[in-house]
Structures are given as C-alpha cells and as structure tokens.
C-alpha cells in the first residue's frame, strides 16, 4: 500500500437503473486488471433483455457490489464504494455518501436525465459530493449526448461542460475527441484495452475547436492564470485547463462531462484518467466529527497519519469470508495490533486482520492510513460506529437516535425462512439504529419498527433479496402515544391484609404535563419524577419503589395502551406501616396513584407528524398541494424554483401510507418526495375515536 494521499480516490458510481452502472463498473475492474474476462450483460436469449444486476453478479460469482472495491489506475489508488440502490432517506444512504470524496454520475445518452437521476443527483447535492458525468451508451440508436448535456444544465442545474466530443454516433460511434489535448482516442483490441491516440479527424476539427473554446471559457472562471493566458493569447497548456476544471469541480461549480459506451468498450480509460485528474483526494475534502468533550461541537479532522485515529465503520457485510466491517480512516493510522475504542460502547478492541477487497478476492494489509478504506475482520460493532485512539473522544455520528414512528408485523412463510429472517433482523438492527425488531409478548408476532413506510419496505425487500427469507407483512401501524394536558391530584392507598404478610402504602401528589422549561432542563423529557415529601411520610428507602411503580405505567397508558410521554409526577405526601410496607406495596400504590391521577388529567392521544418535502414540476404543484391537503397536511410553503417547485408540508404519518404511489400517478412520475419525522401532535377528536375503535378491535382479535 502506498502512502501518498494525493493519489487516492474514494469514489461512488451512481446511476439510474439501466444506464449501465454494472457494465461500467465491470469494465473499470477489467481495465485496472482486477478481473480478467468480460461477460456479456445481455441475456443469453440474445434478445437484449438486461439482466438484473444482482442476479448477474451471482451468476458470475464476483462481488462487484461489495461495499468497497479497490483498484489501481496509472499510479492512483481508487476505491469504488457501492452506493445503495434505493433512494429513500435512511441512515445507510447517508453513511455511504459520507465516505465518498467524489462520484461518477452515469447517464444514458438515449434516456438522458430521468427522474431517478434527479434523486441521485439531489443526494450528491445534499452531501456536497463533487462529481463527473459519464454519458454512456453512445452507440445506441437515438444517442444524443448533446441533449443530455443540456438536460444536465436545465433539469439538474449543473454547470455541465463537455470534455470530449463523439466521433460518430449510434452505430458509427468509434471514439472520442479529447477537447483538452485535441486528440482523437480510439479503442482497439478485442476488449478495447488498447487505446490508440491520433490526430483529430479533419472533418470534425472546426466543431471541436468551437467546443474547446467553450470549455476554456468556462474553465477560465476558476483560474486567473488561465484567464490571463487567454487574454494575452498565450499558449494554453493542458495542465492549466485541468487545474481550472478541477478547482471548479471540487467546488461543485462545474461538472465535467465525458462520453463513451461501456458495453462497446469505449471511453472507459479516459474516464479513469479524469477521475485521477479531476476528482478530489481525501485531503481536498473537509470532514468533521463531533467533540464529545465539548458539547458535541464539530471539529475538523485532518488527514494526517500522525494524529490520533478516527475511523468510521460504514458497512457490515456477511461475505463468503465471514463478517467484514468496512471502515474509512479519517485521521491517524489504523494498524494491525493497535488498540482502538468504539465511541458508542466505550469498549476497547485490538485490531486483528486488516484487508482490502479486490473485486473477487482480498489482500491482507498491515495498516489503513488516513484517507483510505479497508475492512476489519472479527470486530463486534454496528455500522455507523466510530473507532478512536483511546486518547480522544469524538464521534463521527450524532448520538441522537430518533425513536421509531411506525411498526409492522412480519411473519416467516416457513421454517427455513424463520431462521433466515432472524439472521437478517440481527444484521439490520446492527446496521441501522433507527430500525428495531422485537417479539410482541401478547400476540407473539415479530414486529419491526422504523422511521417510515419506505424505510421498512426497504428492509423487507432486502430480507427477500439478500437472505431469501420469504416473509408476509401485516398492515403498518403508527406509533401513537399518550400524554396528559392538565394537572391532576392523586391520593391512593394500597392495602391488602388477607392472610400472610400484609401490604400497605399510601402515595399522594399530582401529575402534570412537562412544561417547555422542564423539557429544556431535562435531557430525557418523557418522564420526570419529583419527590417533595417532607417529614418522612414515606421513608426514603421506599421512594425508588414509588418511582419504579410510576415508570411501570408508562409503557402502556391507561387510555388506549399507547406509551405515555411528557408527564411529570410529583409526590408530596403518603403513609406507611411499620410492618406491612414494602417495596412491592409502594410500587403497587404508585401504579394505583398513576391510574387515578392520569384519568383526571385529561389524557390525549398524540401522533407522529412528518415533515414532507415534495419536489415537483411546477405545472403539478397545485395537484400536489391538493394531495397533501387531503391528508390532513399543513402546507408550510411553496418555493418556486423555475421549472420545479418545492412544496414543504407537515402531515400525520397515518395519512401518508401509499403516498408515493398516489404522487407518482398524479405527476406522471415526475415528482419525488422525502419524509422525515418532525414532532408529535395531539390527534383531532374524530380521529382519536377511530383509533380507539381500531385498538379495541385489535385487542379483541388478539384475545
């Protein structure tokens, strides 16, 4: 392993389904000599149906979809990181985008910018990932790379600039002209492995010169040197142009566009050259961690091997070699035998085997320095965990994990699936802290919980695909909760004297909603217990028992058996008996007191309200607002951005089931939305009645 960070590239390849991501990845691995044969992506029937990439990989027995694949190209080390196929906002997507420094956005020269490209692009934007665009399939009939470049500008708002122009198109696509060097590139040999560089064809020269001028014009915005050279009409070197484009690319102010046809083995090598020349190296990108000794303030990590270790486990994989933990080191050197601390658990671990994945094989390595990606064997952790040197205390991820807002019952179809399902759940819950699973004590059903309908769907789908666990799912259930709205007193005596030792305890005080001020003062504001007893009417040793008794009531509220939150219990009086009082007796008294006070305190049901952001072509914005309005949504605003409008709203989760389907059908599939939990809010009376009915019905059903 070299240790020259400037020559490291951590990149992702993101693409619309069917734009040729699998083929491109495979060609890259072939030209970088990681695999030795090229297979046909077309189905065996020869009709041209594209096979599903997952099946394809299985058939070939290569793991091009492994979390991070390493290859080398002209002295640069490139890690290709798998970007998840689904576009829903989940912690997993966030993590894989975090470890990327740059990306290749693959577009189809026929299909152009499609709605999924828009989604993928937005993720890049959100995480500020600099990217190159590669217009693939230039050999297809109907190929029109120029149209795609203009779509990149109009639909995605990229300042796209072509670095190449095609030599011929569709059936006659033979190569590309590099607009920087003004040379023509042809790809010879059985698999296009021999790059032949010649003078650009004379008939295309004048067009190429015009395009080159356009390119230099745009690049000069990022380089004074280049501008001066242009103004003084001096010779413009290739380096000047590349340096300027690189600067613009890193700032995400320019998107260089390359062309080719991965399937016909054309244009892949120049793309790799562009990755080396134009995409950032780890030290070009600012990464931050949160300082846990300093109230979680962000600290900038320096890609310096001398500094203490900070590394992020971004993906766990159950591969053919056992459990692998993929890790990116941001600071310091993670060496074999060194001791690291898991920031989440505080546990110390010794680094055992370190490896690097190469398509279908792996290489043992001694250390992973800052900026590099590798994998650890035999480390017990969850994905998203931060590993540190013992002397520092930071974390790459916020410690706050939101509580799930939706649940779903799942059941395996057969015995075999049951085992696989358990395996899958074990893995997923480790990977994603917002995804939980448990067995309901009353119904014996396995329940999965998460942050939204899509979130759960993704995991159910992954269970099927990755673990071949066939499961059936119930209807999604919203995580309602209960709280009180006013203060109410209680004074409850628990007394039992029917043979044997008696039980006695009296607890008096009041319950009240937690106010904003209380909530600010307490970190965990779901339940506050305050003891205001003076003069020992309840002896100190029984106070914890009282608190425990109250806490026991929180899991299932007396109103509709939803969890109780936002409640403050104050006890200020009570009574005990020298012989008959015990912990048990006071726990029972507290439970009774809670029920008594709670029902008087006007309990209400609360439901999760989601923040919904819909991005839609402007012509559909009225329809989208109508849809949200029908769903009890409050529309906060509409932002006109020219061709697109962003509608922001708050809507109850319970009303958002199936929204994606409805949204698609009323906007011709052109709108997309993100949804995340925002806050809890009291359910309107009419809805509360409906929920009560449903709860009663379910109870009857399970009894």
């Amino acid at each position: 392993m070299q240790n020259n960070m400037e020559k490291v590239r951590n990149i992702g390849i993101s693409a619309h389904i069917d734009s040729g991501k699998t083929t491109l990845t495979e060609r890259i691995l072939f030209y970088t000599k990681r695999i030795h044969t090229i297979h046909d992506v077309k189905g065996k029937d020869g009709v041209g149906a594209t096979m599903d990439s997952m099946e394809l990989e299985k058939e070939r027995g290569i793991t091009i979809a492994s979390a991070a694949t390493f290859c080398e190209w002209s002295g640069h080390e490139i890690n290709i990181i798998d970007t998840p196929g689904h576009v829903d906002f989940t912690i997993e997507v966030e993590r894989s985008l975090r470890v990327l420094d740059g990306a290749i956005l693959v577009l189809c020269s026929v299909g152009g910018v499609q709605s999924q490209s828009i989604t993928v692009d937005q993720q890049m934007k959100r995480y500020k990932v600099p990217c190159l665009a590669f217009i693939n399939k230039c050999d297809r009939s109907g190929a029109n790379p120029e149209r795609v470049v203009s779509q990149l500008r109009s639909k995605l708002g990229h300042n796209a600039v072509a670095l190449q122009m095609p030599i011929g198109l569709e059936g006659s696509f033979t190569g590309v002209i590099d607009l920087v060097s003004m040379k023509a590139f042809y790809f010879d040999g059985e698999n296009g492995e021999k790059v032949r560089i010649e003078e650009a064809p004379a008939d295309l020269l004048s067009e190429a010169r015009l395009k080159r001028e356009e390119l230099i014009d745009m690049a000069s915005l990022f380089s004074d040197e280049l501008t001066e050279a242009v103004l003084a009409e001096e010779a413009i070197t290739e380096d000047m142009i590349f340096d300027a484009i690189r600067k613009g690319t890193l700032e995400r102010k320019i998107t260089p566009v390359l062309l080719g046809s991965a399937y016909k083995n054309k244009g892949v090598q120049p793309l790799l050259d562009a990755v080396n020349r134009l995409l950032p190296c780890p030290s070009d990108v600012e990464n931050t961690a949160l300082d846990r000794d300093n109230n979680g303030l962000p600290v900038v990590l320096v890609s310096d091997t001398e500094k203490p270790i900070v590394a992020l486990a971004f993906k766990l994989e159950d591969g053919q070699y056992g459990q692998l933990t993929y890790i990116r080191v941001y600071q310091g050197v993670l060496a074999k035998g060194s001791t690291i601390v898991n920031a989440r658990t505080g546990k110390k671990v010794k680094v055992g085997r370190l490896v690097r994945m190469h398509a279908d094989q792996m290489e043992e390595i001694e250390a992973i320095p800052a900026g590099y990606i590798g994998a650890l064997f035999g480390i017990e952790c969850a994905s998203g965990d931060t590993f540190l040197s013992p002397e520092i205390n930071v974390t790459m991820t916020a410690m706050f994990v939101p509580k799930p807002v939706i649940s779903l019952a799942i059941a395996p179809k057969d015995n075999d699936s049951e085992i696989k399902m358990a395996k899958a759940l074990n893995r997923f819950t480790k990977e994603d802290p917002t995804f939980r699973s448990f067995v309901d004590g009353e119904t014996s059903e396995t329940i999965i919980e998460g942050m939204g309908e899509l979130h759960l769907e993704v995991y159910v789908e992954r269970m099927r695909r990755e673990y071949s666990a066939e499961v059936t799912t119930g209807n999604p259930r919203v995580a309602y909760r209960e709280t009180i709205t006013q203060r109410a007193e209680f004074n409850y005596t628990h007394k039992k004297q029917t043979g044997g030792a008696g039980q006695f305890g009296r607890v008096a005080g009041y319950v009240e909603p937690i106010s904003d001020a209380d909530a600010d003062a307490e970190a965990d504001a779901d339940f506050i217990f305050e003891n205001k007893i003076r003069g020992g009417s309840i002896p100190t040793q029984f106070i914890p028992a009282c608190e425990k008794g109250f806490k026991q009531c929180l899991a299932k509220g007396p109103k509709l058996e939803f969890p109780v939150t936002g409640i403050k219990v104050v006890i200020n009086d009570g009574a005990f008996h020298a012989v008959d009082s015990s912990d048990m007796a006071f726990q029972a008294a507290a439970r009774g007191a809670f029920r008594e006070g709670y029902m008087k305190a006007k309990p209400v049901i609360q439901e999760p309200i989601m923040k919904v952001v819909v991005e839609t072509p402007t012509e559909f914005q009225g329809a989208v607002m109508g849809l949200l309005n029908q769903r009890r949504g409050i529309i906060l605003g509409a932002q006109d951005e020219g061709a697109m409008t962003v509608v922001e709203a708050q809507a109850p989760l319970a009303e958002m089931f199936g929204f994606s389907t409805v949204l698609r059908s009323c906007t011709q599939g052109k709108a997309q939305f993100t949804m995340e939990f925002d806050h809890y809010k009291v359910v309107p009376q009419s809805i509360a009645e409906k929920i009560a009915e449903e709860a009663a019905f379910r109870k009857k059903g399970s009894a």
Partner: protein, 230 residues
C-alpha cells in the same frame, strides 16, 4: 389563554388605529426602510398578530427560501411569547401555524399572473384562502404600477389586505415625513405607509401616510426586533 395575552402584547392599536388590521379590507399598506433595518421583522409581527386572531396570512417572499422565512416567524413568535411569560408556547404555535402559508419566488420569476394562478390553486382546492397577503421584496419602479393596481383590484375583489415591503436606497433619502422616492409614483394607491428610521440606538416606526399621531411613538427594539412603545 396564552393566545389572548399574545394578541394584547403584540397589538398595533397603540398606533392609533381602531383595529389591529390597520388597513381596511381591499386596502394596501407598505413599510419602507433601508436594507437590514427590519422590514421583514415588522411584517412578520403584523402577520403573527393576524394569525393569532385567526386570520389567514399568505407570506410571499421574493428573496428568502421557505425555511428562512419560517425561521423569522419562529424567532419572533418565541420572542413575543417570551414576554408573555409561562405557557405552552409550542402548542400555541402549532395552533396558529395553519393560518400561515409561505410562497417564495425568485425575483425575476415573480409576476402577477403567476401569483394569481397560485392563489386560485389554493382557493379553489380549499387549501388556503388568505385574508392578509404580505409581499416581501417586490421592486417598486414605474413599470410596476400596473402590477400594483391589479393587485389592489385583486385585494378588493377578495376582501384581502395587502402589505408590501419597500426597499429604500441610501442615495434616494427623502426629507422627514416624505414618501420614499421609490414609492412616490404609487403613493395614491396606499392607505398606510410606515417608514423604519434608525434614530440613535433605536429604530423609529414613522407613519408617513394614514393616521399620523405623534402621541405614541413606536420603535423596533434592535435586540429582539419586537415593536414597542416609548
């Protein structure tokens, strides 16, 4: 409860007007100031006051994205509520939130037909039917006179009250109690015009048109941006 307290605290009656609405239905009001003095803060307080009284407010911003406008509301609301003391602020906020709709445009993308189209969308689908409309960031030059006349007609037709912010430029400073230069060609269309005028450490809210009573001078507190009497 908190709601009522907040209305009293955030009252515009002190300005000498009979109601907090200041302008009549179908009327036009404007607040003029240099950049950064507090036009938006003033408008947002006007809006919060209306929202608390159950009036539907449409806030059209030509500069800021929805999030930023929303932040203004949150900030000023919690400042007003902070004055009122204890009470469940979040609950009150959630209760009045449905009374507000933010619409943002890029300045160059804004025109009257577009606004009307959007409004019709909202009204016809019964999503939102504004009673007060705030337009923050429109450029006042003579070519826009038709737009303003049309907006006034629209306000009349739907019984809406329309408020505008007017950006006054330093080089156009006019004498005291005089209309800002930018507003001169339109002055006849407006019922009420205020000017925010920095005076020492305070920002004086100077009435230029409408009821001009100097008995109660009003200021914007530069720390909280809240309106207060002297």
């Amino acid at each position: 409860m908190l709601n009522k307290k907040l209305i009293t605290l955030n009252s515009f009656k002190v300005m000498g007007y009979e109601s907090d609405d200041i302008i009549p239905e179908g009327g036009l009001g404007a607040v003029s100031a240099h950049a950064g003095v507090g036009k938006t803060a003033f408008m947002v307080q006007l809006a919060i006051n209306a929202m608390l009284r159950g009036k539907k407010v449409l806030h059209v911003s030509l500069h800021d994205p929805v999030n930023k406008v929303n932040l203004w509301y949150r900030e000023l609301f919690s400042n007003i509520a902070g004055q009122a003391g204890k009470g469940n602020i979040n609950e009150t906020w959630e209760a009045i939130l449905p009374n507000r709709f933010i619409m943002t445009f890029k300045v160059e993308g804004f025109n009257l037909p577009k606004l009307k189209e959007r409004l019709t969308d909202l009204i016809v689908q019964n999503i939102f039917s504004p009673e007060v409309i705030i337009i923050d960031g429109i450029k006042f030059d003579e070519s826009e006179r038709d737009t303003i006349i049309n907006l006034k007609a629209m306000a009349k037709k739907h019984d809406q009250r329309l408020w505008f912010t007017v950006h006054a430029h330093h080089h156009e400073d006019s004498a005291a109690h005089e209309m800002p230069v930018a507003l001169l060609p339109f002055a006849d269309l407006f019922d009420v015009v205020f000017q925010l005028h920095p005076e020492g450490g305070e920002i004086y809210i100077k009435p230029l048109k409408g009821k001009i009573s100097d008995s109660q001078r009003l200021f914007l507190d530069p720390a909280t941006m809240l309106i207060k009497g002297n």
